[in-house]
Amino acid sequence: MSLIQVKDLYKIYQMGNTEVRALDGVSVTIEKNEYVSIMGPSGSGKSTLMNLLGCLDTPTSGEFFMDGINVATMGDDELAHIRNKKIGFVFQTFNLLPKSTSLRNVELPLIYNGEIKAADRRDMAIRALTRVNLGDRVSHKPNELSGGQRQRVAVARALVNNPAIILADEPTGNLDSKTGEEIMVLFDELHKQGNTIILVTHEEHIAAHASRVVRLLDGKIAVDEATHRGKK
C-alpha cells in the first residue's frame, strides 16, 4: 500500500465571480521512504498541495488516502490527530513559539499527543534536539538562536513524534545558501534513516537532493520524474 495516494484533487477558491483553481486535478502517489521535491513557479499551487498533504486543509473534491485511510472526508478533530501523529511540518518562517525555549517548542507535538508522560516528553525532545546537533541549546529561546539554528529546532519539532511524513514548504527560503545546505544535509540524513520527505523549493540545487521531482504549473502536475540522484 502506498503511503500517499492522491486522485483528482481539486482546490478551488471562489473570488467573487472568478474562481481560482489552486489545484486543478492533481493525482500523485508517494511511497514510503521517498524523497520528493515539489517545484513550480509562484502561484502554481505548491503550498496548497502541501497544506492538503499535511491535513491542514481539505480539498474541494478528490480523493486522498494516507496509509489507505481516506483523509479527504475527515472532520476537524480527526485531521488534528493525523497532523499530530503522522505529519511533521517545517515552515519557511520556522513558526516557533517566540517565548518558549527550544525544549518547549520541540515538546509541543508530544503534549498534544496526549499519551506521553511529562518525563518521557522531555527525554524525547532532548533526543530530537541532539539529532539536529542542538543538544546544547535546549533552554535557548528562538531570539537567542541564529536562523539556521531556529530551522533546526523546527526540524527537531517535526521529527520528535516519529511522523510518517516530513513536509517542508521552502525550508531554506529564509536562510543563506550555506545554512540552507546544512539543513538539506539534515534532511538527507533523515531520509537515509527511513523517513519520507516531501519538500517545496524553487531552487534546482535544493531539489537535486531529492530522488524525485514533481513540477506544478497552474495547479496541474506538468512533470513528475526521477532526479539525477534518483536515477542512480
Binding site: N51, G54, F91, N95, L97, G114
Partner: protein, 406 residues
C-alpha cells in the same frame, strides 16, 4: 485530558506572568467584586451571631411597657411629652392581665461607685423588683439575689456586674463588703455571671443591681429608664400584647379616642428592623458585587479577545502541530479563569484580613469555608463566561490563515 489541563494551566500562568500589569488591571474588577461579596456575607454572619446573642437578653415572651418605643417614626415631641411610666402599675397589671405570668419593674441611671480607694465611674445602677431574674438572663455567680422583703424594705444591698466586681475587687471576694454609691453605703450580696455586650456595644457587665424600692428611696427625680416587663407565654405574645395595651389604657384612664401614651416593646421590633437592615446591607452588597463582576467580566472578555488576536500565529502553530479545537478553547478558557480566580483569591485574602480586623475591634466576624469556596467558584465562573466567546473565536481559526497572520 488531564495532562492538557496542567499544560493549559502552565501556558496561562506564563502568559499572565508575561503581561503582569495587564493581568493585574483586568483582575481588579474581580478583586473588588469578591471583596464585596465575601465581606458582606461575613459581616452578615457576624452581625447575625451578634444579634441572636443580644436577643437572649430580651426574652421572646417579654413585653416591655415603656415611654419610648424602640423603633418607629412617631413625632419625637409627642413621645417626649408622654407621662413617664408609673412603676406601681406593675401590681395592677399582674392582677388584671390573663396572660401575665411575671410582672417585674425596673429603673436605671448611672452613678459612681467606690470601694476604699478604688472607684468605678459611670456605672449603670439598675433598680429592679425581686422577681427580675425571672424575666431576664441575669445569673448570680457568687452570693445570692435579694429577697422580696429586702425589696419591700429598701435594704441597701447590691449585686455587682462581673466587670464592676473586677474593677472594685481586683483580688478577693466582694461578697459582704461595703461599697459606696455616692454617699450611700451598700452591702455586696452577690456577683453576676459575665453576660457580654448587647449589640456589641452596651456592656451588661458594667451594671449593678439594687432593689427597686431602695432605688426609689435614694434617687429622686424624673431621669433614667423606667420599664415594666411583663412575661407572657411565648406563643401567645401577640394576643397578650393587645390585652396588655387595653389594661394599661384603662389604668391610664385613656378615652377611646385618645392615642396610646405609652409603648409596648418586644423582641420582634428588633427582629423586624434588623431584618430590614440586613436586607439593605445584603442588597447593597449584591449590587456592588454584581456590578463589579460584570464590569470585571467584560474587561476580561475584552482582554481575552486581544490576547487571541495577538496570538493568532501561535494558535496556527499549535493547530498545525495537532491541537484540536477543544484544546485551544480550553487553553483560553483556563487563562480567563486563572485571571478571575486569582482575582478572587486576592479579594478573599483582603477580605479575610478585613474581617480579622473587624473581629479584633468590633464583633466576631470570621470568614466561613463556605463563603471562601463560593467566592472562588463565583470568580472562576465569571472567567468561564467571560472567556467563552474569545476562546471559541480562537478555537475556530483556520490553521492556514492563522499561520499566515502577521
Amino acid at each position: 485530558m488531564k495532562s492538557f489541563f496542567w499544560e493549559n494551566l502552565r501556558i496561562a500562568l506564563s502568559e499572565l506572568w508575561g503581561h503582569k500589569t495587564r493581568s493585574i488591571l483586568t483582575g481588579t474588577g474581580i478583586v473588588i467584586g469578591i471583596i464585596a461579596v465575601s465581606l458582606m456575607s461575613t459581616l452578615i454572619n457576624g452581625v447575625d451571631g451578634l444579634f441572636e446573642e443580644s436577643m437572649k437578653f430580651l426574652g421572646r415572651g417579654n413585653l416591655y411597657v415603656e415611654k419610648w418605643p424602640w423603633f418607629g417614626d412617631e413625632d419625637w415631641w409627642t413621645l417626649r411629652n408622654r407621662p413617664r411610666i408609673e412603676l406601681d402599675m406593675a401590681e395592677a397589671i399582674k392582677e388584671r392581665s390573663q396572660y401575665a405570668m411575671v410582672v417585674a419593674a425596673e429603673r436605671g441611671r448611672s452613678a459612681n461607685l467606690s470601694y476604699k480607694e478604688l472607684s468605678a465611674e459611670n456605672i449603670y445602677i439598675h433598680g429592679v423588683t425581686a422577681n427580675y431574674p425571672e424575666v431576664s438572663t441575669v445569673d448570680v455567680e457568687y452570693g445570692r439575689f435579694f429577697t422580696e422583703s429586702e425589696d419591700r424594705t429598701g435594704a441597701q444591698v447590691v449585686l455587682l456586674g462581673s466587670e464592676v466586681a473586677k474593677t472594685l475587687f481586683p483580688q478577693g471576694n466582694p461578697v459582704d463588703k461595703m461599697i459606696f454609691a455616692g454617699s450611700k453605703r451598700f452591702r455586696v450580696i452577690g456577683v453576676l455571671a459575665e453576660m457580654g455586650k448587647f449589640m456589641g456595644a452596651f456592656s451588661n457587665d458594667t451594671q449593678v443591681i439594687i432593689p427597686l424600692a431602695t432605688f426609689n428611696k435614694i434617687f429622686h427625680g424624673p431621669w433614667g429608664r423606667r420599664s415594666i416587663t411583663v412575661k407572657v407565654p411565648e406563643h401567645l405574645v401577640e394576643e397578650a400584647k393587645e390585652e396588655l395595651r387595653g389594661v394599661v389604657r384603662v389604668l391610664r384612664g385613656l378615652k377611646p379616642e385618645e392615642k396610646d401614651n405609652f409603648a409596648i416593646n418586644q423582641q420582634n421590633a428588633f427582629r423586624q428592623s434588623y431584618q430590614g437592615i440586613k436586607l439593605a446591607i445584603g442588597g447593597t452588597g449584591m449590587i456592588i458585587t454584581a456590578l463589579s463582576l460584570l464590569v470585571g467580566g467584560i474587561g476580561i472578555a475584552n482582554i481575552m479577545f486581544v490576547s487571541v488576536k495577538e496570538r493568532t500565529r501561535e494558535i496556527g502553530v499549535r493547530k498545525a502541530l495537532g491541537a484540536t479545537r477543544s484544546q485551544i478553547q480550553g487553553q483560553f478558557l483556563i487563562e480567563a479563569m486563572v485571571i478571575t480566580a486569582s482575582g478572587g483569591l486576592v479579594g478573599l485574602i483582603i477580605s479575610t484580613l478585613i474581617s480579622m480586623a473587624i473581629s479584633k475591634f468590633l464583633f466576631p466576624a470570621t470568614m466561613s469555608f463556605g463563603v471562601a469556596f463560593m467566592a472562588i467558584a463565583l470568580s472562576a465562573t465569571v472567567g468561564l463566561f467571560a472567556g467563552l466567546a474569545p476562546a471559541r473565536k480562537g478555537a475556530k481559526l483556520d490553521p492556514i490563515e492563522a499561520l499566515r497572520y502577521e
